[in-house]
Amino acid sequence: MDIFGRLTLESLPFYSVIAASGAAVTVLGGLAVVGAITYFGAWRMVMTQWVSSVDHKKIGIMYIMLALVMLLRGFVDAAMMRSQQAIALNNEGYLPPDHFDQIFSSHGTIMIFFMAMPFLSGLANLIVPQQIGSRDVAFPFMNSVSLWLTTAGAGLMLISLVVGKFSTAGWTGYPPYSGVEYTPGVGVDYWLWMVFIAGFGTTMTGINFLVTIFKCRAPGMTMFRLPLFTWTMFITSVLIIFAFPALTVACGMLILDRNFGFHFFTNGMGGNMMNYINLFWLWGHPEVYILILPAFGVFSEVVSVFSQKRLFGYISLVCATIAIGLLSFTVWLHHFFTMGSSARVNSFFGTMTTIISVPTGVKVFDWLLTMYRGRIIFKPPMLFTIGFLVTFVIGGLSGVLLALPPIDYMMHNTTFLVAHFHNMIIPGVLFGYLAGYMYWFPKAFGFKLNERWGTISFWCWIIGFYIAFMPLYVLGLLGMPRRMEHYEIAAWQPHLIAAWVGAFIIMLGLIALAVQLVVSVRERKQALDLTGDPWNGRSLEWATSSPAAPYNFAVLPKVESREAWWDMKQRGVAYRRPEKYEDIVMPKNTYAGLVIGVAGGVFGFAAIWWMWWLAFSALAVIVGTIIYRASDDDDEFVMTASEVKAIEDARFAQLAKAPKNEMADEPGFAGEAAPEPAT
């Protein structure tokens, strides 16, 4: 049966009850989605308005949906690991090593590549064009390709749960362990191909947003008037463009090693695993900042709006962002101080790493000073921001400790390291994205998320975080290595049980997030955002209706100040009706992006299982689609001035019914943007 490559019936997960149930949940989840779409008769809408869409706002929403689904999957992995470690003192626990190893590998892979990255792309898609006063991103079709390639990678991740086993090499896939000599089978290939394929999507997202921010700004929107979120996305795009090729190359070379007998990273035959580790972290460290800079951007927006005050130290924050971006390429070696580099090399990279804490510290103080003499309103996005500020500095502290090579010799590969990077990624990245999700949700859907459940979710997340991860710091000081599927040191167990309790509380936080969404949708009529400016905002995305019209701005705004929208409100020119509307050229929806994504996924699956005929066919489909699309001149349509007028008339009719300021009922409301601001 050459036609199926190395895929056989034994690849199905009937060897273990737990693996089979995981597969069953995945398959049933997929069927449930299909069933729900059919039940609601929504296939037509899904196909014509969503999956074929090149509208950056819809692409953004789809990215975030993907991220939230993968967050759930990644959390299940985390909960399984915490449960295993809580019980596995002097016994094997409930997971055999092989299964436990797959779980920590998939947890990291999912959370970085298929939760955080899509979440980041989603927020950027949703907001950046609107913040810079643009009608679209620079390359709307490429945007759709990015989405579907990322989704193809995530799809392979989910398929790996059902067909075949996943990698046991961790989310970093270090050779020689990840080489075919020590880890045969499809697991590492799944990991490699999904990262490889999704990496192309991310690289294109980086290119897209760099060009968008460079070329598509509204008149008057100079670089130093860009809102902070856009600034951070700008730097993140630069980092993506420079860093992702290193990952793609490292994965590509390991693919050649594993499948075609090359010896780039093997033990013998001239291979050298240290080259992989350098390449991986040459991507991996900038990646950390790729993830966290946009979260910093969200915090900057949120802290200013909910302190009802201008952002403190804008220039400082921008400079700090640029500095972090540059420095992020000078520190990768701190991930392997223990690989035998000389003291001189280690000292250099250690020092560079501590230097990064300066711009980061500046940011923290600037956010605090934004709150100083403000009037803080504790909406859920603001709660996440305050929670972040307090918790993040603890992670910063442990990060600087790990940057000192002598301390890293001690703490490397222990749970102290695990606690450190979760301390950066949960309060830093995830809190930022969740704050962004709650902050910009009304912009995407036209109604606000339930605050009560948002607040409950926040408290569960932050309390759960402390209980789950502070014990891991302690365990690190007790010497516990990461990735232990059982252990024999009794002193570790109480802390692991505490961490398990923390994970349970985080689960409540996740449930609260789901409840929040359901409750908000059901009670949306009470929380409609009629003005498009639910938080008394300051940047241009609040100038559009909620949800924004397909073209965002009927007339491109003229920007005269750093807080463009606030400034317009102050000058009394906000919500002003233009004298006339013009025709707007819009990109047509196309299935080409979806086709390329699906073909990319099929290609990956075929390559993993050595079904080469299928791989080449999928590749041919991709090339054919690109040629077809590139030669299609009929890819735009004109939205006529009268169509625009109809949409805008409806918008102004809605505005007439809306309260003047949606925040006016807040007890802490400090007043709206007035020509003479009260000081």
Binding site: G374, L404, H412, P667
Partner: protein, 306 residues
Amino acid sequence: MIVRHARSLRWNTCASAAIAVAGLALLCGGCAVLDGPVLDPKGPIALTERNLLFKAVAIMMIVIIPVFIMAVVFTRYFRGTNRKARYTPNFDFYWPAEIVVWSIPAAIVVWLALHLWANTYKLDPYTPIDPSMKPVQVQAIAQDWKWLFVYPEHDIAVVNELAMPVGTPVSITITSDTVMNSLVIPALGGQIYAMAGMQTRLNLLADETGKFWGRNVQYSGTGFANQQFQTLSQTKEDFDAWVEKAKQSGKALDAATYEKLAKPSEKVPVTYYSGVEPGLFDRIISKYSHGDSDRMPHHSNAETTE
């Protein structure tokens, strides 16, 4: 108004509960780590590493504590409902503040960098601890999933047990006969990777007698969790007796025995060998340099050439 009051009450309650939980957790953790291997070191390397940890934490409190205080005070005092608090919505720049927020972290980093350079050189795992003393030579070979320690001077080898005379430096040269490993004995000092075809070094010294656990901490496959060993820090006499015991084992570690041993296995009991194949350690390094004429077994990439 009642609703609003209830909300602010909940915010207070939740915040206090969170702080209490965090404090409690810190307290529990704080007590627990005091007798852990990192904070209660048994050798000068680990001790200096720990002291650097303490110093760095202390210096960073200059930044951390103000952040905590500002976060708590600002969120409490500048809450929107507190109309007594001063409100300056356009206050967005203040030179002195900018200078302070850039210069204080920068000053701390300068302090850290100076300590970092000095200590990184001092604690470089390759640096002999005391040049005036002759260290005990040990060759460590990582295997799936155990450690083989060869004592070339004594012509003995032992699986999963590392003995050393107290107060005498031990110079360990390390390689791997499998995937990447990392050798650490937390009570004595930091770790270094073990890589096939290459040699790395670790210099350690124990100040006290006792048994300290050591292990591989770089994930290496299904037997990873079991890849541990005991370190015996002994008096000179006990160490000599230990060497004698190994010599009496009657089992030689020749090429064939080695091949058998190197096969993946877990929970291998402590095994002594007397009479080790000469040049075993170098042979294991060089067996991976096939097809790589550039790489000399003794001066592989991981070896510093200072």
